[in-house]
């Protein structure tokens, strides 16, 4: 019964209409009346459309369904964006996003050891990117060269960052600022870094050999520079392992004025030469016997 009444009420929509002659007459009269008033020319520019859009957006924001949809779209969009950035290579638009995401990840890690692990992973990713660029056959030579440069530069940045962290850790250890658990973690990390950098060196050396189309000197120099940086990290990591395993050491002066374990006549100790020396001196531990005796000197040209 109710539905029938409602249907009849709805039918009134088509049945009740104004007279058509009145509609047109009234329209003309009203238009004459309003045209008598002066009006400014209508210009609907981008700002007006923006105004409409903002009004719509404001109204739409009140609808929960729209809010949910927006949230899903934002989440999906950002997930897709992150995914796309993950696979990007140097020279591509999303590559900077990828690097920024890595930086953000690194910033969230406070532990120095974990920073090293993370940054060596980044260096490995640079290596993978370099692999893809070098093996790409459809790239023009100039473009390939530019991409290689970018990848190698980023690799060097990552490697230098690793080295900086290793130096920091080494300082903390020598200043005895770390506990035994941290020392164990540090050794584990340093060993991992050593092996990973060895792999990186091998890969880079191979890349250097397999650059037939890109045989400009600057690219080869860049790659060679990266190899050197990685080797330095490798050495630093090895050094760190030794530092952790060494008990705290003191220099002891023997009555004759010489320092035990050092060849006083050796020109290695001459500071006028451009050399860095690391000298370890025998220490007699009151509780244990002497564990290590070694004297190392490293010359750097």
């Amino acid at each position: 019964m109710e539905n029938k009444i409602i249907k009849e009420i709805k039918n009134l929509r088509t049945e009740i209409k104004p007279r058509s002659e009145w509609v047109s007459l009234s329209r003309d009269l009203l238009l004459k009346q309003i045209k008598q008033e002066s009006y400014e020319p209508v210009k609907i520019g981008a700002s007006s459309y923006l105004q409409i859009f903002v009004q719509f957006f404001r109204q739409s924001m009140l609808e929960p369904a729209v809010v949910m949809l927006l949230m899903m779209v934002t989440f999906l969009g950002s997930s897709l964006g992150i995914n796309a950035a993950f696979y990007s290579l140097p020279g591509e638009p999303l590559y900077k996003v990828k690097l920024a995401l890595e930086q953000t990840h690194a910033a969230m890690v406070s532990n120095e050891t974990e920073q090293v692990n993370l940054k060596i992973e980044f260096a490995q990713k640079r290596m993978e990117e370099l692999d893809k660029i070098v093996s790409a056959t459809d790239l023009p030579v100039e473009q390939q060269k530019a991409k290689i440069k970018e990848a190698v530069a980023e690799l060097q940045n990552n490697v230098l960052a690793v080295n900086n962290h290793l130096v920091k850790i080494s300082k903390s250890i020598t200043q005895s600022k770390v506990n035994d658990k941290d020392k164990a973690d540090t050794v584990k990390m340093a060993v991992a870094v050593t092996s990973k950098t060895e792999e990186l060196v091998k890969s880079l050396d191979q890349k250097l050999e397999n650059l037939p189309a890109v045989d400009e000197l600057e690219v080869k120099d860049l790659v060679a520079g990266a190899v050197k940086s990685v080797k330095d990290v490798n050495l630093s990591a090895q050094q760190l392992v030794e530092d952790v395993n060494q008990p705290q050491e003191n220099a002891l002066e023997i009555p004759d004025g010489s320092v035990k374990g050092v060849d006083n006549n050796d020109s290695v100790s001459d500071k006028s030469q451009n050399t860095d020396t690391i000298i370890k001196i025998d220490v007699k531990d009151t509780e244990t016997e002497v564990i290590n005796t070694s004297t190392d000197s490293i010359k750097l040209d």
Binding site: I16, K17, P18, L30, I34, V42, I52, Q55
Partner: protein, 187 residues
């Protein structure tokens, strides 16, 4: 985005800039619904026509002069129509107090005319229309807006200046009364 909503927003923007073409488009879009709405509130087609023209003139004046942001043009039109009908009845009520004989004759004549118009209308009207005319104004208004003009509860609330809850309650009551009247008519 609803196309009609977007069209409306664009028309509003152009109306604010005093574009006569925009006014013409608004008129074409809404003259029939506004006429229909007023028709159910007044007793004659003549009054409905006059008041409808007045609605559009008022809207033009308001939109071109106000700085307020207008969210819904359709609701604004119905609100204006409603207010004008109220003013119309107030004006008519005042007229009833005039005592001059000549005028009284005229009024008598007017009342007769009005009655005749009413009768004419009643002849024209269908059952459901007669039922609606018997309803109190508040109920009739809501029924018309909901089922004839097909406004949403939100829009009706905006037109009547009531809450959505109140609108739903009034609508329910109105339908109940309509059913009762229909049953009586049936008998």
């Amino acid at each position: 985005m609803n196309t009609l909503n977007f069209q409306e927003k664009l028309l509003l923007l152009r109306l604010k800039k005093k574009d006569p073409e925009a006014f013409a488009q608004v008129y074409d879009l809404y003259v029939t619904p506004i006429y229909r709405f007023i028709y159910f509130k007044v007793s004659s087609r003549q009054d409905a026509e006059d008041l409808t023209s007045e609605v559009f003139l008022k809207i033009w004046q308001y939109v071109t002069e106000t700085d307020e942001v207008i969210e819904n043009l359709r609701a604004l039109l119905y609100r204006s129509a409603r207010n004008l009908v109220i003013d119309f009845y107030r004006r008519n009520a005042k007229r009833d107090y005039v005592q001059d004989e000549e005028i009284l004759d005229l009024i008598q004549d007017e009342k007769q005319q009005s009655l005749l118009t009413k009768v004419d209308l009643e002849i024209e009207m269908k059952n459901v229309e007669l039922i609606l005319r018997k309803l109190k104004d508040e109920y009739r208004e809501i029924i018309i807006l909901r089922f004839v003009e097909e406004l949403s509860i939100n829009e009706i609330a905006e037109v009547l200046g009531k809450s959505k809850g109140s609108v739903r309650v009034i609508l329910h009551r109105a339908l109940k009364v309509v059913k009762e009247l229909a049953n009586q008519n049936g008998k």
